[in-house]
């Protein structure tokens, strides 16, 4: 028994070491840093308790970033997951040029986000960008997609969905392929409609995949900010500032370690809460075979 315990610990040691060094330790020091002021030159950090959190509550940019991120998450998560499922169902049937379509759907995933952002930067250019060019044929007027508060964040959402949907499609496709064909034959014999089959059989069987995809989508909604850096730098007037981008600005542009640490703790808490909701509440309803 004791021997097995030692063996067990030895087996998880390498992973544990890496996790502690690169995840838990930085997280713990960040929490500690969030209770101190920013060290400047020869002025050392000073303990201030919850003052940084109180300051954060009165920081309008923080609330804007939080609201933006909520909108961003509420659109990108369902949109990319539903789109992924639809695409997977489409390329799972026997259509001509199936391999080509699959590849086309998956291409955005393989491109680095920076490259994607630069491509879309051109699409969104006013007057002669792709969108304005096409709309121009139908008498459309100039749109300053990225320079307008109303369209800048939706533009970011579109890019993120375009980038992510193909990645999630792969998981749905794999799950669909693993589904035994006799289920479908049974349903056909019973005279079940295609919609009924999809709702009662396919969707429940895809639930483990959906949970996995959802977890990833939620993480990405808070993690993917590369396109913001390239396309808008959080502007105009903070319309596209997301939480993680604001952390970067606070940490590496304003050099405000206290603010950056405090923001990070808030983001950690938020992600923790979401993970708990997903695994605790949704996870119970998932049917694993």
């Amino acid at each position: 028994m004791r021997r097995e315990t030692v063996q067990g610990w030895l087996l998880i040691l390498p992973a544990l070491l890496l996790l502690v060094a690169f995840t838990h330790w930085p997280a713990a020091t960040t929490i500690i840093d969030s209770f101190y002021t920013t060290p400047k030159g020869s002025r050392p950090p000073r303990f201030v308790g919850f003052e940084n959190y109180a300051d954060l509550m009165t920081d309008p940019v923080f609330w804007t970033a939080l609201r933006n991120n909520a909108v961003y998450a509420l659109w990108t998560i369902p949109a990319s997951v539903i789109l992924a499922l639809v695409m997977a169902l489409a390329v799972n049937t026997a259509i001509p040029g199936r391999a080509l379509v699959r590849m086309a759907y998956f291409t955005p995933t393989m491109l680095p986000m920076i490259a994607v952002a630069n491509i879309w930067l051109f699409f969104f250019t006013p007057d002669y960008g792709l969108f304005d060019h096409v709309l121009g044929f139908f008498g459309g007027v100039r749109h300053n997609w990225l320079g307008d508060r109303d369209t800048a964040l939706p533009a970011m959402i579109v890019v993120a969905v375009w980038k992510e949907a193909g990645f999630f499609m792969i998981f749905y496709l794999a799950a669909l392929q693993a589904m035994p064909p006799d289920l479908k034959e049974c349903a056909a014999l019973e005279g079940s409609s295609r919609w009924n089959f999809f709702r009662r059989v396919t969707l429940p069987l895809l639930m483990p995949t959906t949970l996995f995809v959802l977890v990833n989508a939620v993480i990405n909604a808070f993690r993917l900010v590369d396109h913001v850096v390239v396309m808008t730098r959080g502007g105009p007037d903070n319309a596209t500032t997301l939480l993680l981008y604001y952390i970067y600005e606070a940490g590496f542009r304003f050099w405000d370690q206290a603010l950056a640490a405090t923001l990070t703790v808030v983001l950690l808490a938020l992600l923790g809460l979401l993970a708990w909701l997903q695994f605790g509440v949704l996870g119970k309803r998932v049917h694993y075979r």
């Binding site: 006013p126 300053n144 320079g147 307008d148 105009p236 542009r253 304003f254």
Partner: protein, 437 residues
């Protein structure tokens, strides 16, 4: 040497005592082998600037075999600053970096820099520091020390498309000289198809460097944005409001500027595509526009209101703590070589950046260049009207506060006065820790 620099004073003292023997006996340095220095430079990998700088560095090393120089191209200005600061704080920093001149306050507040006046002590060195245009030295001079040596410096100029001017019935050889002319003339150059504007009168970029272009208009209205050694801002002064109102008038009253925010990055492309008659942009784009314009174009100073005016811009070389005395001297030699009249002129011709000292414009090569391409001299002629770029303590944040509010006004969400009142309030709060008690 890095761990030997706890305070600024010890570095100054150390540099002063060690500099003299090194200067007097270069042979010793040689005997010790080569001195290696590294500097960060803001270019994305592979641009034309990379080749130019690599060429200069190779030439310098050929003439100075005892110094080995390694340029590191570190991305945008902000990236370069981020990398230099992070690396320096970790004790792995470069000896020098070219970062925005306006970031000097933050670097000095963080005690990361070595002032150049502490090592440039010989008469020749002092004369060298005096040779630069005062407008370019302003941002790098803080608390009586010189922290930045001008190199990649620019200012704002107006580029105008002579073909569009001619087609609109304007004198193609004359640029608008006043705010009124600028508004009325650019309104005349507007081209429409039905309701759709196919070619605009003027574009002033409203993202990326919003406050910089705005500062030009404030200077023209006779105002200043900051003062008291970077501890005060005047964002809601009468001239500041007038400047922003003029920008808004170009959209609302003259209707020659596309509404909302024009992109910094696409400005030159819009101009080259003939989609806009006039753009305000950095002189750093002069060579790009010269090489790619398929139509005759002119370069002019920005129009005047109370006076002419434009902020200076661009980057200075800064020397970081962690450079040992030998490296400090090597940096000084490299800088003196890079900013010698001939090299400064060459750099200006290669890139369009403004040669930062008067005698560079007197070199035969530069004189010949200006004779064949008079547009190049506009930035120099504007320098007497130039003001130091907005720079305060906690600069990035103060500038961001102003940028946010300016963008709110440009997007029509706030009146000019309201936006600037809000910006001033934010800035005052940010600068509170720096007030003298």
């Amino acid at each position: 040497m890095r761990n030997l620099t706890p305070t600024r004073r010890t570095v100054l003292a150390g540099a002063a005592t060690l500099a003299a023997p090194v200067l007097a006996a270069p042979a010793i340095v040689h005997a010790q082998g080569t001195t290696e220095i590294e500097f960060y430079f803001p270019v994305a990998v592979g641009g034309p600037i990379t080749k130019i700088i690599d060429g200069y560095v190779a030439d310098f090393m050929k003439e100075n075999p005892d110094i080995k120089v390694k340029p590191v191209y570190a991305g945008s200005y902000v990236d370069t600053l981020t990398k230099a600061v992070t690396a320096t704080k970790a004790g792995q920093g470069p000896q020098m970096a070219l970062v925005l001149a306006v970031d000097a306050y933050s670097l000095v507040d963080d005690e990361l820099l070595i002032p150049f006046d502490s090592i440039a002590t010989s008469d020749a060195d002092k004369a060298w520091l005096k040779a630069f245009y005062p407008a370019f030295m302003a941002n790098g001079t803080i608390d009586g020390h010189i922290w930045g040596v001008p190199f990649q410096r620019s200012t704002i100029v107006a580029y105008w498309n002579k073909d569009i001017f001619k087609a609109a019935g304007l004198d193609p050889e004359k640029a608008p000289a006043t705010w009124e002319e600028n508004g009325e003339w650019t309104a005349k150059t507007l081209k429409r198809e039905g309701d759709r504007v196919t070619s605009w009168g003027i574009e002033i970029p409203g993202d990326g460097f919003t406050y910089w272009l705005y500062q030009g208009m404030v200077a023209q209205a006779g105002g200043e944005l900051a003062g008291d050694n970077g501890r005060k801002t005047f964002f809601n002064s009468a001239a500041a409001v007038e400047g922003l109102q003029y920008w808004l008038d170009l959209m609302g009253k003259y209707k020659s500027h596309p509404p909302g925010i024009s992109a910094w990055g696409t400005g030159p492309r819009d101009f080259l595509e003939g989609k806009v008659a006039v753009i305000w942009h950095t002189t750093g784009n002069l060579t790009n526009i010269k090489n790619n314009a398929k139509f005759p174009f002119g370069v002019s100073m920005l129009p005047a209101h109370q006076r002419r005016g434009s902020p200076t811009g661009g980057g200075n070389f800064h020397m970081f703590k962690g450079a040992n005395p030998g490296q400090q001297q090597a940096c000084l030699r490299l800088l003196r070589w890079l900013t010698s009249p001939e090299k400064a002129a060459q750099w200006s011709m290669d890139t369009g950046y403004v040669a930062p000292r008067a005698d560079a414009w007197e070199t035969p090569a530069m004189k010949a260049y200006v004779a064949g391409f008079p547009q190049a001299a506009v930035a120099r002629d504007q320098l007497p009207f130039a003001v130091a770029e907005l720079s305060t303590h906690d600069n990035q944040r103060v500038a961001q506060a102003l940028t946010d509010e300016l963008q709110a006004a440009l997007l029509g969400r706030k009146q000019a006065k309201q936006a600037l009142d809000d910006a001033q309030e934010k800035a005052t709060r940010l600068l509170k820790p720096f007030q003298k008690s």
